[in-house]
């Protein structure tokens, strides 16, 4: 039985310690678990940073391509090092806190937002073995932390003591309160279909007949519709065009992060890409078969049946599938951003309450009947 990411880390630590001549078994258990957890989280943190950096670059290149211009192409091959150069620039920037801002909350807000964006990474499975914590409540946990992000953004908006910032915070609150519902309904559709909330089990359920065993087709048409509800709601949750009202620069300057600069701004920036990734990865896991390859055995192995490929290769292939799907969905988000105008604040609530919620309810009822009948 393959273990989780923590087990792999434990194994690595054990080997490393054995090389130095220490016996890992004598280290207290709590310390071992704690250390493994910490390292796994650090790895995830690194991954978030890499994803954010990569997509920060990709966003600009994609935008350049779509807008008949170049995008960053000077620093490094294809301008890949541009973001690193930018990061260095930002790190040495002056950190400004407005005089009338609430200093404590102003500093706390980006941290809360990042916590909210980062927490779901702990339960995202990359392959059958690669997951930091295999929580039985996986999806529920992942969704719950969006709340922390909302509070963080409201806090940023309020603590800045700027009216535009406050508008940004208010807009996000209205937006998120409406979009969590269709998101939850879409997740419930999948939960009813597979009978689990654990992300790993949900993916394991989707293996078999090529793409037709993925939830999107297995629960046709309910999960198919549910995926759009989930993805759109997630798009709204990650504040991306056409739902980028909280930071709509043409209306409310820069929304909740108007007053932020330097490192604190970067944290918001990181969080945005982290949230985008979480939404994309969750869509991939819930509806698009997670780490399963679209064509099993031919192009790639994935999942339990193909364990014969060996644990390392299997994990790598699973990871490639998973990251590929997530990145594609993230690319679609960029595509949206550089194509569509922004919707208005009443239209976003309309879309949620009058389109996505009924759609979600229909999906849920349909999936329930499906699950009972079939």
């Amino acid at each position: 039985m393959p273990g989780t990411l923590t087990d792999i880390i434990n194994f690595v630590i054990q080997t490393a310690l054995a090389l130095v001549g220490l016996d890992y078994a004598r280290v207290p258990e709590m310390l071992r678990i704690g250390a493994a957890m910490l390292i796994a989280c650090a790895a995830m943190l690194g991954y978030v940073a890499v994803v954010a950096l990569f997509f920060g670059w990709a966003e600009r290149r994609v935008a350049g391509r779509m807008q008949a211009r170049q995008g960053p192409n000077i620093v490094g091959p294809f301008g890949l090092l541009q973001l690193i150069a930018d990061a260095v620039k930002i790190l040495v920037k002056e950190d400004i806190i407005p005089q009338t801002a609430h200093r404590f909350l102003f500093r706390l807000a980006p941290i809360l937002v990042f916590m909210g964006a980062f927490a779901p990474f702990v339960v995202l499975p990359f392959s059958e073995t690669l997951v930091v914590s295999n929580l039985s409540l996986g999806v529920y946990y992942a969704l719950s932390f969006a709340a922390l992000e909302v509070v963080g953004v409201i806090m940023a908006g309020w603590a800045s003591n700027n009216k535009w910032s406050l508008y940004g915070g208010m807009r996000l609150a209205a937006q998120m309160m409406s979009y969590e519902i269709p998101m939850g309904l879409a997740v419930l559709t999948v939960a009813v279909l597979s009978g689990h909330l654990n992300l790993r089990t949900i993916v394991l359920d989707q293996q078999g007949h090529w793409i037709f065993s993925w939830n999107i087709f297995r629960g046709f048409p309910w999960a198919f519709l549910g995926m759009f509800a989930f993805y759109l709601a997630g798009l709204a949750g990650s504040k991306r065009t056409p739902f980028d009202l909280p930071e709509a620069e043409s209306e409310i300057v820069a929304g909740y992060h108007t007053e932020y600069s330097g490192m604190r701004f970067v944290i918001f920036y990181l969080s945005e890409y982290a949230t985008m990734y979480v939404v994309s990865a969750l869509t991939a896991v819930l509806f698009l078969g997670g780490w399963h390859a679209p064509i099993p055995r031919v192009l790639a192995w994935g999942g339990e049946v193909h364990w014969e490929a060996g644990p390392v290769l299997s994990a790598l292939i699973g990871m490639a599938n998973m990251i590929g799907k997530s990145f594609f969905l993230m690319f679609v988000m960029l595509w949206f951003r550089w194509t569509y105008p922004r919707v208005r604040v009443d239209q976003i609530v309309y879309l949620c309450m009058k389109v996505l919620v009924p759609l979600g309810i229909i999906c849920l009822i349909g999936a329930s009947v499906w699950a009972l009948v079939l």
Binding site: M30, L105, Y141, A147, I154, M170
Partner: protein, 168 residues
């Protein structure tokens, strides 16, 4: 370092967070500050649930209280009141009343705890409580569960009614 010690450390950390944030909620003059402090109170409670193995309850606490109620509270406060929100300064009489009410609630809690859970250890199961919770809610506790929902529904309708009446 054993598991108990780690748990104890986490418990005391959470407890400190709870007490401090509660104190800010109660004593802060700015209602927005109080609201943000409430966030930490709610998170600390969620932490307690997680510590006790009730992971479903912990996540629900975050979803419902932080994501729903706290955001709604902030939304309402920031949108409907002038920008620097200052709570009215309490009079001496309200202080006395508050202390008395606090003492009464505390006494009640002591009685309840001593009467029902004296000497019982906290549930130690680390498995997901989701299935058990579902079975209990729709089995043994179906009536209280449904009754609570009905009460909340009645409260909701009542609130809507009151708002409508104030309109005219």
């Amino acid at each position: 370092m054993s598991a108990e010690v780690v748990q104890a450390i986490i418990f005391y950390f959470l407890a400190a967070m709870l007490v401090v944030s509660c104190a800010i909620v109660v004593f802060s003059y700015s209602i927005v500050n109080a609201c943000f402090a409430l966030l930490f109170t709610l998170l600390a409670v969620a932490g307690f649930y997680a510590l006790l193995g009730a992971d479903f309850l912990a996540v629900t606490q975050v979803v419902v209280y932080v994501g729903g109620i706290l955001v709604l509270l902030l939304f309402g406060i920031l949108l409907t009141s002038p920008l620097p929100v200052i709570l009215g300064v309490a009079t001496r009489r309200t202080y006395y009343l508050a202390v008395a009410a606090g003492a009464a609630v505390f006494a009640l809690l002591v009685i309840i705890v001593r009467a029902f859970w004296a000497g019982q250890p906290a549930p130690a199961e680390q498995q997901s409580s989701l299935e058990a919770l579902g079975t209990l809610l729709l089995g043994k506790y179906l009536f209280p569960f449904e009754f609570a929902s009905l009460t909340l529904l009645a409260a909701l309708i009542g609130a809507a009614y009151l708002v409508r009446r104030n309109d005219h």
